[in-house]
Amino acid sequence: MLKYYHPKQVERSEVDFGTPAVEGSMVNLTIDGRSVDVPEGTSVMRAAMMAGVKIPKLCATESVQAFGSCRLCLVKIEGHRGLPSSCTTPATEGLVVQTYNAEIAKIRRNVMELYISDHPLDCLTCPANGDCELQDVAGEVGLREVRFGLDGANHLDAETDDSNPYFAFDASKCIVCSRCVRACEEVQGTFALTIAGRGFESRVSAGQSEPFVASDCVSCGACVQACPTATLIEKSVLDQGQPDHSVLTTCAYCGVGCSFKAELKGNQVVRMVPDKGGAANAGHSCVKGRFAFGYATHRDRVTTPMIRAHIDDPWQPVSWDAAVQFAADRITAIQQHHGPESVGGITSSRCTNEETYLVQKLVRAAFGNNNVDTCARVCHSPTGYGLKATLGESAGTQAFDSVESADLVMVIGANPTDAHPVFASRLKRRLRAGAELIVADPRRIDLVSGPHIKALHHLKLLPGTNVALINALAHTIIDEELQDQAFIDDRCDQPAFARWRDFIMASRNSPESLSSAIGVSAEVLRAAARRYASAKNAAIYYGLGVTEHSQGSTMVMGIANLAMLTGNLGREGVGVNPLRGQNNVQGACDMGSFPHELPGYRHVSDDKVRLSFETAWGVKIGAEPGLRIPNMLDAAISGTYKGLYCQGEDIAQSDPNTRHVESALKNLDCLIVQDIFLNETAKFAHVFLPGASFLEKDGTFTNAERRISRVRKVMPPLSGKADWEATMALSTALGYPMQYQHPAEIMAEIAALTPTFSGVSYDKLEAVGSIQWPCNAEAPTGTPTMHVNEFVRGKGHFEPTEFIATEEKVTRRFPFLLTTGRILSQYNVGAQTRRTANIAWHDRDWLEIHPQDAEDMGVVQGDFVLVTSRAGETVLTAELTDRVQPGVVYTTFHHPESGANVVTTDNSDWATNCPEYKVTAVHLKKVVAGSAWQTEHQHFSEQQRRLLAPAKTRNSHETV
């Protein structure tokens, strides 16, 4: 007898079961004589599929709820009248179902005949030929003739909307099954699509009958995925035809880490299709991962190693051997002149775990110091510090699935619909199902109010007052005795709690005392605290709006305190969830990229840990921490730090106080940049090692929920080497040979040396798809929820979190606060997304300014505004919007020429040096031209492009 289908047991399944899985007690029914057990409430259609019986369907697909419109799936049920649609009929105990008889066959054929009477008969030239459910079903039902002809009223002349850069909407092929409309609602949660008109006039409409690109559509691709015909189809398929093979891999954009099938012809990716079996995304995607992959083969890719003596010299293309030897010689010479500590490296959060591990190993073993850091320095380093101090592990506590059990979600300093869109869709689904939402953000993010979603409270705090906010919330909970005392008594360190309790109960931490600093009334603060504390399951999700402050680490500890105080840790539906920026920022941190930690977050001063690495690597490792990125830059300006190996990061654009970064880079004797493009940092480099995109290599990424997923090579590296191979070559040239044949061997070394990874292997990843660390003997299948019966550190530790305001304050000279962030269509420094059609949505960085402030300065939409801080000045284009509050302005940093980081200061988090991107006091002035920095930047970029030109025009195989 067939058993109940559980999607997790059949991961990566290609089968469309027609309607979503449901949970419930099991019932037994009989379908075409086959007995099957399913959860009560499962559709008869799904039950049939589980019994191995496929029922014809058009309007049903597993990703959306049943609709019952196409009438193809009707069945006969014993004892029931008529022929109900199987997609909308729930399974109950003892049903006896017949899916096929002469009467049913006749009706199905008639239905299909009607569909086809209003559908173009151009199958042979149709882009969906061979991949069309309408075609399939016509075959299944045995359609042989269309008696009605095509002369009557029809939609065959309906126009195609090709306004979206990535997909076309050919209305003439639409069968109005509404799968796209339901996908937009249920899967994505945007509600951009609807069925306009009635009866014969019914048609799919984006917004108020607007072109797709002008509507609320966010180009997530859910509608394209759901469409059974060629109506909604990728333009890449229109251009190239259907792909013929596929490779399962992991997206290289944000920290959600979606699983995708890269579908190819030869070595060319035709489309990226979200994988239904992917645990992080469950078949959903966003505009970046789904469509914006063209950068990987963009003409700007530099695929030849290059060297030059000085940054004013033209780039010289050379062989790999020549490039790594040049780099190794320079590094060796620098260390001879300036000492072993005068060089270091930056690992990449965009590269794989294995590559990151190798770079920190190269720094520690071949450079012989601990001067290794990673871009987490400028994003989530406070998360690592704060969560380790309070809970005992530098990582989020939950799986993304957990949000489905949350009753209240508090989003602090994160903008999931833009920066983590696929997680945002899950969150929105839960909110539509009734979970409550509190948003703490200076800016009105989309989540505050959207289709069928409204935050209970939007705590519109002033930038820089996070700690005041979290203290006010915690104070209220104790003051009103809403804490989970049993949890605190059982799970937390008592003396630490007592000290913290005294601290938080001081009157300076009351909402009444703090409300004017925060800019939110005491009543609202108290109301929000009550809701958080009284929800059965309350979860906190936070982002860089928490960490990128002078008190970033304090705020992370404050969040952990709040979760412990209310017992919201150690089970599904709760927790402390950092939303990671880059795809492998979690992994880069895990892999020992910090100058004070070896892989697995173990301090370099720990003799036992150091000994294990020294034994495995055959070198001595220093017990003192190395330099962090800002310290490296300072030391470079001072002349004591002369060589840097920078893999897959663009610190000249992404790091604060650009002029300071540029001065530091200009002072280096050897800057080795490994990247897929000649990025802003590479303009200061002496050695360029061509990088490989995620499509060109094997490895693993670890997403924000600690999930380790495979990255698989779908095409050979354009430069001839994957990044891990380039690092090996450099290390070997430096006299520390590395000889791995495959990244699986690197992972084996990581597992052997890192207790939280000891159960991880490529074989296991092949078998189970993905694993959430810790994965070891105690947790052989991984750990979706952390701190279940006990915190990693033993007892949870409450840390006092005094609100000490940042030095970056508004003054008469700098009367506005600038805060920065990201938008949906662009990613980080934009190096990838700017080289795709995503540019259609965001071709420049805008300065959001409140209309009231704009009016005071005589600024109108589109005006140039000079933004001046104590660090520097740049000119941005004004966008008038009440998303920002008066006195606060906002911009993104996706375009290098915007110079957003020319303005941000060198203020940083007290514990980790994470820059304070989110608070910069600025002066604004209407101007007519760009800033001095922008002019210099333009000249420098043009010069560097000229110096690259000879190298780009020469054959990539030509070497010197």
Binding site: T554, R628, T640, P800
Partner: protein, 73 residues
Amino acid sequence: MTQSELDHLIKMANQIAAHCAPGASEAVAAEKAANHIQRFWAASMKRQLIAYFNADGEALSETAQAAILQLNA
């Protein structure tokens, strides 16, 4: 060492002294700050800070100075 590098180190030391044990006694705060610097600063940064403290130290907060004394020890 440039002035800006020194300024950063002084600022960082003062920040750590102020933030790492708010409300605690001077002795406890200094001990925690010293421990933090010990665990997270590169040896060269510690040396530079100690050199500045020995030569001048004026710009350092009292807690930061007490912390550096422990690094010295």
